[in-house]
Structure formats: C-alpha cells, structure tokens
C-alpha cells in the first residue's frame, strides 16, 4: 500500500477501508436502536480515555456520550412510528476535523447503515477516530453494528463513490457549493433522500452595554468560547461568525470601552492560535482587499496579526458576501434588527448571540419572513452539532415516518 506521511493514499479505483466493512448491510433499524447507543457509548469512553490533547476529537468524544444521545432520543419520543431508510452515504469536508464522525452518528441514530467516504488527505484526528472505531468494531460484542458501518477513503471520482451514490437510500454531502453540484450531477436512486450542506456564513450579535457590564471572569470565559467558535477552525467553518453586530442605540464612551475591552479579551485568547506566515499573509491580503473594494467607509484595527477588525461605517451593498478568515472580523454598530434584515440571505446559517433574548431573534426572523438564519445559539456554541442542523432535521430526513392517520392526528 503506498503511504505518504502516515496517510494511506489509495490508487485509482482502490478503496481503503478505515473502519467497519466494505459493504454495509441494507436493513433499516428503528432510530436510536440500543446497539447503536451502546456502540456510541463505548466510542465516547475510549476517545475520552486516551485522546485529550486533540481538541476536536475530545469534543466529539464528549458529544457522543450516552446521556447526550439519550437527550436526542427523548426529543423523538413523540409517539410517531419511524424506521431507517437503508444505507446512507456520507461525503464530508476533509478540512473540518472529525466532521465525518458527526455525520456518521446522525445516520446511525436515524436507523441507517452508513458508508462514509473521507479524503485520503484526511488529517490526524480523523485517522485516530477511524482507528479507535475500528478497534471497537472488531470486538465480538459489536459484530452487529460493525456490519452497518463502512468508513473508507478513495480517490475523488472513483468507481466506489459512484457505486455508493447510485445504491444508497440517502446521501449527506458536506462541502462547498461546487462539490454539491458535482455530486448532484451523478446518478442516484430516484427515491434516495439528499441532505446537502452548501456554503454558508454566520454572524454574532453582541449587546454592547450588556457586554460592558459583565465581570472579568465572565468576559474571559465568553471570549474563550468565541475563540472556539472561530479560530479553532481558522474562522472558515460555515458556523464561524464573520460579522459581529454590536447592538446599541447610540455611540458613547461607555460603548466604545466595552468593545475595546471585548476585543482585547479575544486577542488574549487568540495567543494560543497558531498563526503561520501563510495565514498571516492570506489574512492581511483579505483585509486590504475588503478595505479597497467595499462600497462603505471602513476602519481597521489590528491587534498584532492575531486579530483584525474592520468596522463598517454603513451596511455595504453586498454585506452577505463578507467572509473573515484566521481571526478577521467585520463589525457593525447599530440596531441588530436593521443589520439582520440586510444580512439574512438564504446563506446566513448561524446567529450566535450574547445579551439578546433568543426568542426575540426567532420572532424577528419569522415575522419578517427572512430567507436565512438556520440556527440561533448562544456565543460559544456555534460548532456544537445538533440533529437539527442548517435548517434540516437529520433524524426526520434520514428516517421514514410511517403515516397513521389516527395516531398522527392526535399526537
């Protein structure tokens, strides 16, 4: 097997099985089946026991703990009758560590067998997750669940991908718009369901005065969580906020102090960020290009190269096109409702917030019939995966609900 830097690179049309079997069985199970929950519990334990130094992997291990999965299960205890669909095929972004793990868990929870194609360029944490998973699956007590999992890598347009697509009962594609369009052009069963997660962007709404009043400790805590939402994925995840909206009625010394205090706290947290020369250059170029091309006045603040902010004097015509990276944030001051009206194109995924009532944001989105806003979560929770993601309900889409007039009508 050709190897490069520890990663196994498959030859053309070759398939490298990283966990589970080559062909998963097709039989649908009921959602939240006991063997699935048992397997996830064991997975969670083993990840947490040995892999604390990898942040995303550790977070995944914590996420799939028994009690958390049980919480999910309770949400669907609504008396309706559901069953999985068969084999769900997943194609996940290689540059988000352990994303494939989350996607796989959603497929399993919904009652399906899962085959997952990951990139041969997948990173260390993905490889470790595969090894831990495979180790568990080879034990006799997990034989049943092993038959329902296939994690493999293969080349981009290989036969294995085309076959998996044309056979599956559903597919989940994470990635850029281009990837999704490419996959959509491939052959797929007429009754297969598709969950696509295309390019998205996200924002954060902070109440200026409220933030000015929190204690140093709260501030540090919040800044740390904000760091996790952004820097941890190079601020390139769809859920990482690009724009910070400072909700305030009018400008005051107090408001300015609150903002400066906040960014200083974020800058402090960003000290642990690995800012390579390449990232520093790319970020500086992005900053300059926006300053030179936006149709509104901007004001740049640099905290070393770790943190750049660009204050928008007004709402630019293409505000929904703004993207940060590696710790570069746009700032807008004013009423959050006004900003949101301009921002909420269909691509606006997550609003993280602090100091604003969640219900008010939800009400505003619904009342104004906005296209965007698919998630609203407190600041620091941007990257926390949930069965309802990006406007879709994984469990509902990836399982079938058996319609029964009498029962459904009275639930």
């Amino acid at each position: 097997m050709p190897r490069s830097g520890g990663a196994v690179i498959p030859m053309k049309d070759e398939v490298v099985i990283l966990a589970g079997v080559r062909q998963p069985e097709k039989e649908p199970w009921e959602p939240f089946a006991a063997p699935v929950l048992d397997f996830l519990e064991q997975l969670s334990r083993e990840i947490r026991r040995e892999r604390r130094k990898y942040e995303q992997l550790a977070a995944f291990g914590f996420w799939c703990r028994r009690s958390h999965m049980e919480e999910f299960r309770k949400r669907y205890e609504d008396g309706r009758s559901r069953l999985g669909r068969g084999v769900v095929f997943h194609i996940t972004a290689s540059n988000v560590p352990v994303l494939f793990g989350y996607s796989l868990v959603m497929g399993l929870l919904a009652g399906n067998s899962c085959s997952v194609r990951i990139s041969s360029k997948s990173r260390e944490q993905d490889q470790i997750l595969c090894r831990i998973m495979d180790r568990i699956l080879t034990r006799p007590e997990y034989k049943g669940i092993r038959r329902r999992i296939s994690v493999f890598s293969c080349q981009r347009y290989s036969l294995a991908v085309r076959e998996a697509l044309s056979d599956c009962a559903g597919c989940v594609v994470w990635g850029g718009d281009r990837t999704i369009m490419e996959i959509r052009c491939m052959r797929i069963r007429p009754d297969a369901v598709q969950l696509n997660f295309p390019d998205r962007y996200s924002i954060c709404i902070l109440d200026t005065l409220q933030l000015g009043n929190i204690t140093e400790e709260e501030l540090k805590n919040l800044a740390h969580r904000f760091y996790n939402d952004t820097y941890l994925l190079d601020q390139n995840a769809c859920s990482s906020p690009a724009i910070v909206i400072w909700n305030q009625e009018e400008e005051s010394k107090e408001a300015e102090n609150a903002r400066v205090r906040w960014w200083n706290a974020v800058d402090e947290e960003a000290r642990s960020y690995d800012l390579t020369a390449h990232k520093a250059m790319a970020k500086y170029e992005l900053l300059c290009r926006y300053a030179m091309t936006l149709d509104v006045e901007t004001k740049i603040s640099c905290y070393g190269n770790r943190l750049y902010t660009m204050e928008l004097g007004d709402i630019p015509s293409d505000i929904d096109q703004l993207r940060g990276a590696f710790g570069m944030f746009f700032e807008y001051r004013g009423d959050w409702r006004k900003a949101l009206t301009h921002l909420a194109s269909g691509r606006l995924q997550t609003i993280t917030y602090h100091g604003i009532e969640e219900q008010k944001i939800v009400d505003f989105v619904i009342k104004n019939h906005l296209f965007g806003v698919h998630r609203i979560v407190p600041a620091g929770r941007a990257a926390v995966m949930d069965p309802v993601w990006d406007g879709h309900d994984f469990i509902a889409v990836l399982s079938r609900q058996i319609g029964r007039e009498a029962q459904d009508a009275f639930v």
Binding site: T92, A93, R156, G176, T179, C238, T298, K299, I300
Partner: protein, 371 residues
C-alpha cells in the same frame, strides 16, 4: 490644481528620479538611504493616495494620516496577491504604456502591473545601473537562454519577456539559445560561440528554463560549450528546482560542467517591482541597490526582524509611480544578513531568500472532497 503648479511638481519629481538614477547603485550608506527612502516613499504614498482610489480607501481604513512624515518601516504595505486580483494604477488608463504580467504557471492567476513611459524608463535605468556595476558599461554580446517567442506580444508581456528585454540593454548583439519549441538551437548557439570566441559575453535566462532546457539538454547530449568568458545571470526563483533538490551550489557546479562558466550571478526580483533587481555578489549574497530596499517581517505582528532572523520579505522602491507598488509584502521568506558591510564592498542591505512561504492546510467547510 493649476497647470503651472502641476508641471512644477512634475519637474521636481523628475529631478528626484534623475538624481537617484544617476547615482552608483551601491553607493548609499545606511543613514543616507534611510533619510532618502523615508522622505521619498512618504511622498510617493501621498502621490498614490491621490491617484489610486482603492489605495486611498485602504489608507483611510488604516487611519494613516495625510502629510505625516514616515520612516521606511512605517510605509503601508500592499500584499503582493492584490496585484493578481485587482487592477491597481495611479495613472489614467490612457497613459498605460504596457501591462506586465508575472510568470505564473498555467491556470494560475497572474499579477498585472501597469506601466507608463516614465515608470518603465526608471525601471530600465535602474536595471542598467545595476548591470553596469556587475558587468561594466560596455555592451556585450548576449546569449538569451529562452525562445524568441516570449517577446511576441509587446503590449502585454510577462516577467520572462521583461527580463529579456531589460537585459538586452546590456547587449551589442542578441542570440536566442532555444527554438520556439523550447529546444536547444545548436546551430544558433554554435554560430554565436564562433563569432565571439575571445570576447566577454553575457548569458541570461530564468533559473528553471536554464536548468530544464539548457543544462539538461546539454547534459543528455554530452555536449560542452566553450563559454569560459561568459557571465551568467539568472533569476526567477528556485521553487521548481528545490522540488528537484537542486541547490544553488549544485546549479553552479553543473552549469560549469557543461559551459565552463564560473561567474554565475543569481538575482531576486519580481514583475511587481521590475528593474530594481537584487543581484548576487561574489560572496553569494543578494544586494539591495539604491533603487530599492528590503525589510523582513515577523508573521506574528509584521514587526521588522533583526538581522539574521528569518521573516516575510517586504520590498520597497521609489520607482513605481504609475501603480501603487512602492511597498509590497511578498510571499517569500528571507534573512537579512547585514547592511553596508558585505565583503564584496557594496553598500546597502544584503540578504538571502529562503523560499516561498509554506502553505499549511487550512480548516473550514468549503473546499472539501479532495483527493
């Protein structure tokens, strides 16, 4: 502005350029150069602020006030990538004399650099000054290791073409060593060698082209050319050669083995600041001339590095007037070794280029589903 004032301003600027371009290229000591470059680049920053609207917007966003006197280190930098994605000029489009492009490989975006006649002339004079210091003021027969086709489109030409055209000012006669198919033109080369048997000649080309189409062709054919009297000048970067594990020493040794050339000078330069190239001296160091300067910066905060410390290379030159390229942050890394005290005797900073900034994998949701 009234017409009288404008011509007066232009007159003053011309005088500055004539003055500096008349100087020997390695004749300014640190203190003099700092003062000259601080003033001149400050003035040029103002000039581009007034003539290039996107540049003005950037300075405004960075809150760089008008009329403040800046040191060389304080001059705002444009990242080199912007010349790829934007069309930046400080002259009326009607005054563009030619558009230069960087030598990107196929499919890559290339930089576009807009030159008016003044800027093109300054750049050519700077190159002439540097060349004279290294090869004397006599015109020499020039063997260009490239195909004449590179120069076909004069309006829109590449850094490769610009280099050839630039170096042709040192020549009394030009011979192209490669055919349009990039094959060694044995007949032409042999004719050239015969004609200039006992004359000093100049050989010029891009590092990778010399290696791939000249050295390798000669090595395969087992040919040795009689070029003992030649000076070879080459530039354009080591990126492709480093991937083939060819070091500078190895390059020199191999070239010597097929041509007998012992005087080989590498240079560092780029389309975004043509003319003011950084030539390698006999001690193996690249030198900044009076026409340009170099600063290396730290990735963490872009503060200037100490001598001996590796950093991202910034290049500064007062020559670019038709486009705001007087202070550029490159994507290369290097080490400034010292200033004014290289054993070769040239004044100014001397340095080494260590290579391109390494592209680390970036996280994020898009750009998925690869290999």
């Amino acid at each position: 502005m009234m017409i009288g004032e404008m011509s007066e301003e232009k007159g003053k600027i011309d005088m500055d350029y004539e003055m500096i371009l008349a100087r020997k290229p390695y004749s300014l000591c640190r203190a003099e150069k700092r003062e000259l470059f601080g003033d001149w680049l400050t003035e040029l920053t103002e000039y581009h602020r007034q003539h290039c609207p996107p540049y003005e917007k950037l300075l405004k966003a960075l809150e760089i006030p008008s009329g403040r006197s800046m040191e060389e280190e304080d001059i705002p930098m444009l990242p080199i990538g912007l010349f790829k994605s934007m069309e930046l000029m400080s002259v009326h489009p009607g005054h563009i004399f030619k558009t230069m492009t960087s030598s990107g490989t196929k499919g890559q975006e290339v930089s576009k650099v807009f030159l008016d006649t003044d800027t093109a002339r300054y750049q050519q004079l700077a190159l002439a000054g540097i060349g004279e210091d290294f090869f004397g003021d006599q015109r020499l027969p020039l063997l260009v290791i490239d195909s004449p086709d590179v120069l076909k489109d004069r309006k829109m030409f590449s850094a490769r073409g610009a280099g050839i055209l630039g170096f042709s000012i040192f020549s009394s006669h030009i011979c192209y060593a490669l055919t349009s198919d990039m094959e060694l033109d044995t007949e032409a080369v042999e004719g050239f060698l015969k004609r200039y048997k006992d004359t000093r000649v100049l050989v010029f080309g891009f590092t990778y082209i010399i290696w791939k189409y000249f050295y390798e062709a000669l090595a395969i054919q087992g040919k040795k050319l009689e070029l003992d009297n030649a000076v070879l000048v080459h530039g354009g970067g080591w990126k492709k050669l480093i991937s083939q594990s060819v070091s500078s020493d190895e390059f020199k040794k191999r070239i010597y083995s097929v041509t007998g050339i012992s005087r080989i000078h590498n240079y560092y330069g780029m389309a975004e600041q043509t003319g003011c190239i950084y030539m390698e001296c006999p001690c193996g160091n690249l030198h900044a001339s009076v026409y340009s300067d170099i600063i290396t910066r730290r990735a963490a905060d872009f503060t200037p590095c100490e001598y001996g410390e590796k950093g991202i290379i910034q290049i500064l030159s007062p020559l670019p007037r038709s486009y705001p390229g007087h202070s550029i942050l490159t994507e290369d890394e290097g080490i400034i070794i010292g200033e004014d005290d290289c054993l070769c005797g040239r004044l100014g900073k001397y340095f080494k280029v260590t290579g391109r900034i390494k592209h680390a994998p970036v996280r994020g949701c898009s750009d998925t589903y690869e290999g």
